[in-house]
Each structure stands twice: as C-alpha cells, then as structure tokens.
Symmetry: C2
Subunit: 204 residues, 2 copies
C-alpha cells in the first residue's frame, strides 16, 4: 500500500521506516522538499493512507499545505500531540478539555477519515510494542468504523496483538488520548524510561 | 487513627466505611450537620488526617468552610475530580492543563500536606482494588514525602500492594492525574464497567 507520512521528526521517520520495512511504498512529506523528502502536498497526494506525524502545534498548517483534495476520502492516521513548550516545562496542551487536535483536524478536513492512534506511546513503542514487557494497550478513536478497522490491522502488522487494540469511540475520544500526555510525561519521570505504557484491566 | 472525611457522596461514604471497618475513628463532614454527620469544620478538626471527597467544583468552598486552622500541619488526602457537568456530557474539567484542583488547594492551604490520591478509580476500586483482576496501579502526588509515605501505607491497608502504588512526584503531578479523567470515562464506555483501571508497564 502507498503511505504519505507528514513530518520528518523522530515519529515520522520511525513510522516511515517501519512501513518501508513492511513492504509498503512510502513518501515522507515536509514543508520544503529535498533529496530525501517531498512536499506535504506531494506526500499526501501519493498516499492511499496519510499519517500526520507533524508537531501538534503545526499540524493544521501542515495539513492545509497538504491540501484537502489530497486527503479527500482517505484514512488520515493522526498521531500528533498538541504539546506547547512555549511556557516552559512541563509542556501544556495547546488545545484540550472541550476539544482536541484530532477533532479540529476532522472538522477542517470533513472528507478525510481521521483516526487518532499511537500518540500515547513513544516512537520506539509505536512500531516495536514488545520493548515494553507484557500485554499493554493501544487506543484508536474516530468516526469511521472501516477506517478504524484498517488502522487496527496496520497496528497489528506493527506488532500490536488484536486484543490490545482498544477502540475508545468517536473522534471526540481523541480528547482523552491527548489529555493522557501529562500522565505519560509523569510515568516517564517515575519509571525513568520513555518505553512505558499502560494496560487496561477491567472487572468481568 | 482519627479521620475527618469531607463529603457525603458515594466516594466519601465508601472511604468512611472502609476506614471504620479498619478500626479508625471517623467523622463525616457536610455543609449542614444532622444526626449522621457533622460540619466540614468539625470533621476537619476531629481528623488527624483529612480526606477531601467533595465534588471537585465545590472543594475549595468546602475546605474554606473546614477552615485553614483545622487543616494546619495535617495530611490532606485529595480525592476530588474537578468535573464540570454544566456543559453536558461528557463532563469537562473546571480546571486543567496549567494547574489542577490539588495545586489550587495546596496553594490556598499552604500549611496542609496535600496528597492527591485515588481520584483515578471509582469508589469501589478505591477500597477494594481486587475487584479489578490482576495487578494494577494507583498514583500518589504531593510535595511532602512523609505525607506520601503515610498515604501509601493507608492505600496498602485498603488492599493496594506496595509495588502498585506509584509516586508521580510533586503536587503538580496532580494535573496529570486529573487530566486522566476523560480517558477513564472512555475506558468505562469501552469496557462497560466502572471497575476499570490501568497497569503501568515499563521497559527494564
């Protein structure tokens, strides 16, 4: 399958690398093209599926550069976290509580099938879940069930067992996934490793 | 030990019941006293340790009624969630992102030793962690290490194994614990039970 990965940071490079390793065709998009990467618009146009791995505070601008026509009808895997480092550490969220970045993206690109996923773990865990011992949970959220099923299959190809992929509901559930980030930062601090995740356990 | 529990909702009643069962002396405080309960001020005065189990949006008012003198030098276990139901469902948080309810309480009552705890699980799980199968995590946060150690021991008496009590750091970590609530609400929705919790897993 053809993927357009927007963003050339650690997350974008890691996901693009894994997709290539799995035999997919990948183009990585950036604000400016060079020998290794194309523009946001070229990457989005190339991909049958598009991955938003840009910095959360720059995502809407990057997706506008990608262009609504290049996202039309496509699954858009939304991995970004709207972290605002401008006020010092720890970062705050540039949007939260009564909306989320993923909801803003879904609203701005109504014909894309936005699926929030993978933002709750670091890049290494995203594509190598077994670096965290035992069974642990990865979330998906979005309005299109078919798109979520497709993303769930992709996560399984990354190494996430089907039973560890938890559907949290519609795209508004991205609020919960993004507001988890402050806890993730504290778990990193308390455990001393960014290779940390949670397992959801419930009474029968 | 003597406990003052502020709040007569499910959480307050459940914690007061467990404390009584464990042999502690407990007074439950409410805005108005009746045959079963005393005032906030009387309960806080009675307790060597005080538990804030009021609704988050009413907590500062309740603690003001309890009185700074009655909280002076005491461990204040801060269980509340600042859930705002006034804008419909799902609730938003009345405070989040760059501060938290627990931080506001610590600031308003500088001589109390505020420890955020237990707000990430429902009342039944708080005092009967074994209703959720397997090992799962409960957090504490606060500025006073001795107070956190005391709360950790109390949690162990509730049934939480010592290795499942995770110290997230100073009182600002309460931000992370309170911003977890939207995810908790979605986990409740996805699993169909409020008896749900998370286990933190990290690479060695």
């Amino acid at each position: 399958m053809r993927f357009g990965v927007l963003g050339t940071g650690t997350v974008g490079r890691t996901i693009a690398g894994k997709l290539t390793e799995l035999g997919h065709e990948v183009q990585v998009g950036s604000r400016e093209a060079d020998e290794d990467k194309v523009t946001f618009a070229e990457a989005a146009s190339f991909g049958e599926v598009v991955v938003n791995a840009t910095a959360g505070t720059a995502s809407l601008e990057a997706l506008n550069a990608a262009g609504a026509a290049n996202l039309y009808g496509k699954v858009l895997i939304e991995v970004a976290n709207p972290l605002d480092f401008s006020k010092g550490m720890p970062p705050t969220l540039s949007v939260c509580n009564d909306t989320s970045l993923a909801e803003q993206i879904q609203e701005a690109f109504a014909e894309a099938k936005v699926v929030k996923a993978l933002n709750t773990v670091n890049a290494a865990v995203m594509v190598t879940p077994e670096v965290v011992p035992g069974s642990h949970t990865i979330f998906v959220a979005g309005n299109d069930d078919g798109a979520k099923a497709q993303v769930s299959e992709l996560l399984q190809s990354f190494g996430w067992p089907a039973e560890d992929v938890m559907d949290l509901g519609d795209i508004a559930a991205a609020r919960a996934m993004e507001m988890y980030l402050p806890l993730w930062l504290r778990l990193f601090g308390a455990t001393g490793t960014p290779q940390v995740n949670i397992k959801v356990l419930a009474a029968e």
